[in-house]
């Protein structure tokens, strides 16, 4: 009743890492899909011949990366694609000053120039409507910066979703946390109502170009939007 991964392999990188690998391997080899249940901790404990402590830490680690979902009483299940882990990596980079906000914006610009073009080509009518609605809500709430920000973020995430490439969604969403921390700074540099409404108009132009299915135009508006945003951040002294 004890064979498998005890003498042959696991000692150097630690038992927990081994367990993590065993679990991901299990998902792979069984071809599990999101929502499918994983073996219980007790079962894994027997299979790997380690203590429940080790198995628990492995499960917990995978849960932290959002590869599996845990909840009390129920078995762990395979998770749907989620940004959790990526967001934390990016935020860690920012808070430890290994990444600058400007660098994040450069990446966002690169990616969103593509998502906006893809969205213009592939958006469904519902997606186009959702994008347009986010822009509209920005205008309607424009006296409430926090609301504008949330609709702004939703706007960009909706465009990424309309690109029909989940990897783009993943990355764009991962950056939303950074946006939440810096957005206000950019907004403040647009001191007048006029400047703020102009920024909102830029979003509406993008939404319109997507609705009309014009990728080139949409990308141009997006480029302009980013250039102004970055300039605003630079003016505010963000490195």
């Amino acid at each position: 009743m004890q064979e498998q991964t005890d003498p042959p392999d696991g000692p150097s990188p630690g038992l927990v890492s081994t367990a993590i690998q065993a679990i991901t391997q299990h998902i792979r080899s069984e071809g599990l899909a999101p929502g499918d249940p994983l073996p219980s901790e007790a079962a894994m404990t027997r299979r790997l011949n380690v203590s429940r402590t080790v198995v628990r830490e492995a499960f917990r680690s995978l849960s932290a990366m959002r590869l599996i979902d845990l909840s009390a009483g129920r078995r762990a299940t395979v998770a749907k694609l989620d940004t959790g882990a990526m967001s934390m990596v990016i935020e860690h980079g920012i808070t430890t000053q290994q990444i600058s906000v400007q660098q994040v914006y450069d990446v966002r610009r690169t990616i969103e120039m593509r998502t906006v073009a893809l969205a213009a080509l592939r958006r469904t009518d519902m997606e186009a409507a959702a994008i347009a609605q986010s822009a509209r809500l920005m205008r309607e709430n424009f006296k409430n910066p926090e609301a504008v920000m949330e609709h702004d973020i939703a706007f960009h995430e909706a465009i990424a979703a309309a690109s029909h490439n989940p990897v783009f969604s993943l990355i764009v969403t991962a950056f939303s946390g950074v946006t939440r921390r810096t957005w206000v700074i950019g907004w403040r540099t647009r001191s007048s109502d006029q400047a703020q409404l102009k920024m909102i108009k830029g979003h509406e132009d993008i939404a319109d170009a997507i609705l009309r299915g014009e990728p080139r135009l949409a990308a141009e508006h997006m480029a302009e939007h980013f250039d102004k945003s970055v300039k605003a951040l630079l003016d505010a002294g963000i490195a």
Copy 2:
């Protein structure tokens, strides 16, 4: 000796999540940099007024995302930026069929069109040499597919590094795992030596354009390279 996060906030999302937040919060508020030590498990246990089990699982989770480094006997330290977590998310998406290989290549193309242009503008001489050397090693080992693949991956990572934006490096490196699983398929479709050498020539052209500091040209070669790679994968039946 017991106050802080016991009655007021932490119960609903679980103690471990609370502990994770407390640790990241600690890094933030203390302004810790990579390499700096974190409090010991015992200290955290006292501060949060929870069992060591909970603190350990929190540390372990952060370690799984590569936000901190753990090693036996030593205190945990803040980690340098690392791709670990991102890679696992991407691979999880692939193995659970929530992401297709082609979608990853589309994102890679988008990003590397930019990194190659940035590399042409910002590369140091050493970086240009490293890129060129990877291309050269591809040619020298071209009878050994596995070696060619590793140098190919190193080539793209070196370009990302030369873009001087760590976020690009992070993403490109995160995709390397996927490349390792699909690269051979593309190589096999280039059945003749001539086709294989032509593909290597493409890399040399990119390296040359970067060396000469011509972003436009470099991007063109990169686009060509990706279009052919995607075509090769499609011909091989990769969805």
